[in-house]
């Protein structure tokens, strides 16, 4: 039987939302996948409104910098875990979901 993950994803849109929320996705195949691949899978199969940056997918451009279980990671370079909380990188202002504004560092 394939092991499946539970993934909590940060949701927020600077343009419309007053407050952020978390959306939980269950039954996500995660073995041998990176965090970015899991996010892509959630986007393709569960929720197409989810926004995130993909960049080079090679660990060099840092476009997919985000928080996984409270730690800053490059999503393309981090192997997925069975329980994950995925949030935007806290150093920058959030624009939408996992997309941050790299020009705006939080004070």
């Amino acid at each position: 039987m394939t092991e499946l993950a539970t993934v909590k994803v940060f949701r927020y849109d600077r343009a419309v939302d007053k407050e952020s929320r978390y959306q939980t996705f269950e039954g996500i195949p995660y073995k041998d996948r990176t965090v970015l691949e899991v996010i892509n899978l959630i986007y393709e199969q569960f929720d197409q409104t989810l926004s995130f940056r993909e960049g080079c997918v090679n660990g060099t451009c840092t476009g997919c910098a985000m928080m996984v279980n409270g730690e800053p990671v490059l999503a393309c370079q981090k192997l997925a875990e069975k329980e994950m909380v995925i949030e935007p990188h806290p150093k920058f202002e959030t624009i939408k979901d996992l997309v941050v504004d790299f020009d705006k560092v939080r004070g």
Binding site: D13, T49, S51, R53, E54, N58, C61, Q77
Partner: protein
């Protein structure tokens, strides 16, 4: 609703090495510039950020741009555009000097850059980083540290997170672009006296690729639609050392770490080191691996073996200790493989596309007002790229085009945009958002990638396969392309919207690759036809493709040899790394 418009002298689409260099040069020449990227500057999927250690430039005698050009053309099997090769390589030294001035930490002693040898080059001409003093390091990090910063320092007007969808024309001339602001979904037209396309190649149109996922031929599709000529689109470079087992989807290139870091030996299922036999037939490494696996002499995961059994265990352990923080090391541990005893499996994946838009020595396309640079052009590499040549051609073409476009813009009046044309393009761009039900884009993308992978790979191309692939792609163009649509309709950061719009460009790119491969009835460099396995001396020619009405027109033109004539003994010389 009136579309918001802006205007500029030189508009640069794409902010990798070529695009940023072009923008800098154009601004230095006094032109007003607008630089556009589809992501965040320096954090987009520009291939520049992942370039490896090769960075070739002839700087000091006895080396010269002419000798470098001879190496490049010999390696490219003489189908290169010799004038263009020389123009690019002559521009190289200026780029290296400027990059150093802007802060790239090349190794220099006194006023002399230190250079190292790479395969296929007559002299040591690879610029080396100060810190590592080796050609094996990733120079992408350094480019990413320096180039986006130069855009800020030089205050180059930047439009980031903007997805350019089409080129605008008036009286046969390119006069601007249309596109969508990713952050708010707004459709905009931008007028420009000249447009420089620096959108990269289309390696991500193949099922397995090394580039970022958005390298899907955006510029190829746009330029094709306005009638630009393309050349040698059948030539696609595949990187041979990509791991298929243990499988690491995020960094397929990790096989190269082991290949170069630990000097592994390649062997087939019987433990036979097979490369020499293929080399004698003039075949490149990715082709050798492909054929060996297709002949059913590979491993169970569809790759060829890379073994380290000949390396003493303490050397392997020392190497792995240094690599501990990398993801491929973690994945290796997780997969349970012990490289001291077991071999990994490698297979080639699409890396760069050597064919592209045909340009002159000023990087002008055949459409007035439109320039093309970087990986998007053809004619520089010929049939096979020489190690470390791609990145210098990106900087140099950017440099050439930036200045040429600024000079041209200086002579021109402001363009007038055709509102009717903008409206047509707006409706086309918005259709996937307005259509309620249809086909999800990622399934169509996967179909195209499968077709390209199965029939237009680095070897195994046949008339039958290419014709089948062409029919399948045509079916997708006719039946599925008009049906792709987004399932979520949010205007802000809607990924599916971009994916819907890139499909047409993917189709065009692969159609041209298939047509080029069908037309070239021989095997040359990275193009290998199973049914025409030999290099044909009568085929020192270029395959030129352009849009003719609603059809793809193809034309075969003999290559010219203004500087270097093919010699029987040299023709077919090829360097491997």
């Amino acid at each position: 609703m009136k579309t918001e418009t802006a205007e500029t002298d030189v508009l640069v689409v794409g902010a990798g090495s070529a695009g940023i260099m072009a923008a800098i040069r154009a601004q230095d020449k006094g032109a007003s510039v607008l630089l556009i990227t589809n992501g965040a500057l320096g954090k987009d999927s520009a291939v520049t950020w992942m370039t490896g250690g090769g960075f070739q430039c002839a700087l000091y005698p006895p080396d010269s741009p002419e000798v470098h050009a001879r190496d490049t053309i010999r390696n490219g099997s003489y189908i290169n555009d010799q004038e263009l090769v020389l123009a690019i390589l002559k521009e190289g030294p200026r780029c290296i000097t400027d990059l150093y001035r802007w802060g790239e930490r090349f190794w220099k002693e006194g006023d002399r850059f230190i250079q190292d040898v790479m395969p296929g080059h007559s002299y040591a001409r690879c610029v080396v980083m100060e810190k590592t003093k080796s050609t094996g390091e990733i120079k992408g990090y350094e480019h990413r540290r320096v180039l986006p910063n130069q855009v800020r320092v030089k205050k180059i007007p930047l439009l980031d997170e903007f997805m350019v969808t089409d080129l605008l024309t008036a009286h046969g001339r390119v006069v601007g672009v249309t596109g969508i602001d990713v952050a708010n979904g707004e459709f905009r037209a931008i007028a420009a006296k000249t447009v420089i396309l620096a959108t990269g190649g289309y390696a991500a149109c193949f099922k397995r690729y090394l580039t970022g996922p958005s390298v899907t031929g955006w510029g190829v599709g746009m330029a094709y639609r306005v009638g630009a000529e393309f050349m040698d689109m059948e030539i696609v470079d595949f990187y041979p050392y990509c791991a298929v087992w243990p499988r690491l989807r995020c960094v397929n290139i990790w096989g190269a770490n082991l290949r170069y870091g630990l000097s592994g030996k390649f062997m087939n299922r019987s433990g036979f080191e097979f490369f020499d036999a293929y080399r004698k037939r003039g075949l490149a490494r990715p082709q050798s691996i492909y054929m060996e696996v297709k002949a059913d002499r590979g491993g169970p995961h569809g790759g060829i073996y890379l073994s380290f059994r000949h390396v003493p265990v303490n050397i392997i352990d020392e190497y792995l200790k240094r690599a501990r923080s990398t993801i491929w090391y973690q994945q290796m541990v997780e997969s349970g493989i012990d490289i001291r005893n077991e071999a990994v499996e490698l297979f080639p994946m699409a890396m760069s596309t050597l064919g592209g838009i045909r340009v002159d020595t000023g990087c002008r396309t055949t459409v007035p007002g439109l320039y093309a640079i970087g990986e998007l052009i053809s004619g520089f590499d010929g049939a096979h790229t020489l190690a470390g040549n791609l990145i210098i051609s990106c900087f140099a073409t950017g440099s050439i085009a930036g200045e040429a476009a600024a000079a041209e813009a200086n002579r021109l009046a402001s363009p007038v945009l055709d509102e009717g044309q903008i409206d047509t393009l707006r409706r086309k761009a918005l259709r996937p958002m307005e259509q309620a039900g249809g086909i999800r884009p990622f399934t169509v993308k996967a179909e195209i990638q499968d077709i390209a992978w199965n029939h237009a790979n680095v070897a195994g191309r046949t008339k039958e396969g290419l014709e089948t692939a062409s029919r399948e792609i045509e079916k997708i163009r006719l039946e599925k392309l008009p049906q792709v649509c987004t399932s979520a309709k949010n205007l802000r950061y809607n990924r599916e919207w971009g994916q819907c719009l890139e499909i047409e460009n993917m189709i065009t790119s692969i159609e041209m690759t298939l047509l080029g491969a069908l037309t070239r009835t021989e095997s040359r460099g990275l193009h290998f036809r199973d049914d025409y396995p030999h290099k044909d001396p009568n085929w020192i020619k270029n395959v030129v493709i352009r849009k003719e009405g609603e059809k793809m027109g193809v034309d075969v033109r003999p290559a010219t040899f203004p500087y270097f004539k093919p010699k029987e003994s040299q023709e077919g010389g090829r360097a491997d790394d």
